[in-house]
Amino acid sequence: MTFPLDQIFVVAKQWMRGYVPPIAWPVTSAILSVVPILIAFPLLFAITTLLERKGLGRIQNRYGPNRTGPWGLFQPIADGVKSLTKEDIVPLTADHAVHFLAPLLLVAAAFLAYAVLPIGRNMVLVDLNAGVLYFFAVGSVVELAVFMAGWSSRSKYSLLGAMRAIAQMISYEVPLVLATVVVIMQAGSLSTVSIVEKQEGYSGIWLHAHSGFIGIIPHWFVFTPWGFVGFVLFMIAATAESNRSPFDLPEGESEIIAGYYIEYSGFKFALFFLGEYLGMFATSGMAITLFLGGWNAPFSFFTWIPTYVWFFAKLLTLIGGFIWIRGTLPRLRMDQLMNLAWEFILPMAILNMLVAGVWHFMPGGPLRWLVCIVIIAIPCVLLSRRLKRKKKFEIRTYSFAN
């Protein structure tokens, strides 16, 4: 069942397209789909910067920005004006072309990922049948942009920051993709739209005849053992991918200052900022699509609320989670970061694929749950003990240096 408000944007697009001759329909259609994305997500970025500063402030028992406008609501505008009017400094020895292109490429790559995100019912830019693959392919362009920025600045801090960022992003790209494999296994499709459609439906109870069926447990993949583990692993990897705390090693005030974008100022710096947040939204959107039922409502009696509202509500919740995590955790050390990726998250992701297989072939029931949970829990405990063990530092003996 659909409700009129749900399809209002789709209908509006059809209606607007009706004003141009049929030969221009593809172009018009593309523009009408792309422009809202180009407006909505940067707007969300502006809101998020404010929410983040407010939220972090409150977490630290501060007020956060409260001077620009009522409750500091105009702070993003002030920030935007500031970054636009700042002087744009390019180092004398920098590779100017690459230095200029890097922030643009980062933002462009971040925007490209939105093409396959289903924001609402019938609201996806292109329903690629390899949508998930496309998403991660485009997402890995970000690494190139980061390295372009670090390399072209011709500054040791930039380069070191870029090296760190690349090491971190490539390390976490592997578990990020492996965590999604379980969903693809279960859904049997790489298309984001059909993955969301697979998560429609609810388990629930029959009440009286007049109220009918009440669905209280949605069939989201996160409510299965493999889905839950996959979601947690995906979010950890996504946090590392978007260089956010506690994985914000590419930038560190005390060591390499702003990392790979240290030589950027003014609007280019703002573009990096925008690109990072857009990447974070995109991966969050992908997590919603893969695990949190996309635009589906959590309860069957909430399906009258438009689907895009649900998508953005889930997105804001995840963003809130990111902010909360950032306000809580101190950053990891480089070796801890790498150990976490290769010694914990990667084995767990591979194990999770096994769990998904077991889940698929076992008959439904409590036994299936028990077996899957045991398969996950025991290695999880063992691996985490391995991570926690104390490392012995020994005095290194050099055979030839003495």
Binding site: R58, Q60, N61, W324, G327, T328, L329, S384
Partner: protein, 212 residues
């Protein structure tokens, strides 16, 4: 179990987040231009010149001895001594500063000028919001801007001001007694010429004024 500490941290930050909306005493930030913390009594930043009585020019204690100018480590004081003399607080004719400038962009608030002043004429102020859009002229304070009343001094540093007033009064009493003794000695001496000269210096202003 891995993650226990993370959960503990997350509850702590959540408690901070929610608590800051409920409990006002969690937010310790002082919203500066509207709210200000009370200053401690010994606060000091830049020097000012004290005058007694209602007229800032007539009552200025400074006699342009230029000791502070010489002692000032960053040389931020500039004094031009007057050619003529004006009566000071006790009526004694004294030189006065024709120009007295302090460049507070140079001043380092060391208080040496205050310590060397033999006339208790220069003291430290507590005003800290002195922003200006003219960084040369706006930060060069002249005699008029520097002059502040003894009552103001009592307001900002009550204990110190009372001590200074006491010392000044004592000194004046001593001087008065000396003058009186001299006059009496003169009167006791064979009456030569009528004692025309030394009137007991009647203070032009209430010396060592009360705080109010």
């Amino acid at each position: 179990m891995v993650g226990n500490g993370i959960l503990k941290g997350l509850t702590e930050t959540a408690r901070n987040f929610l608590g800051s909306y409920v409990k006002k005493d969690r937010l310790t930030t002082v919203q500066y231009p509207e709210e200000r913390l009370p200053q401690i009594e010994n606060t000091r930043d830049f020097p000012f010149l004290i005058y007694d009585g209602p007229d800032w020019h007539a009552g200025m204690r400074c006699v342009a001895c230029q000791i502070c100018e010489k002692e000032c480590p960053p040389k931020c004081i500039f004094i031009d001594k007057s050619k003529d003399k004006k009566p000071d607080a006790v009526g004694k004719p004294q030189a006065y500063p024709a120009v007295f400038n302090i460049d507070i962009s140079v001043c380092m608030s060391c208080q040496i000028c205050v310590e060397v002043c033999p006339f208790d004429a220069i003291k430290m102020d507590v005003v800290y919001d002195l922003p200006t859009d003219d960084r040369f002229g706006g930060l060069l304070l002249d005699k008029k801007k520097l002059a502040k009343s003894n009552e103001y001094y009592h307001q900002i540093h009550p204990t110190e001001a009372a001590a200074v007033d006491g010392a000044l009064a004592e000194e004046r009493a001593k001087a008065d007694a000396k003058v009186k003794a001299a006059a009496e000695a003169k009167a006791a001496a064979p009456a030569t010429p009528p004692p025309a000269a030394p009137k007991p210096a009647a203070p032009a202003q209430p010396v060592g004024g009360d705080p109010q």
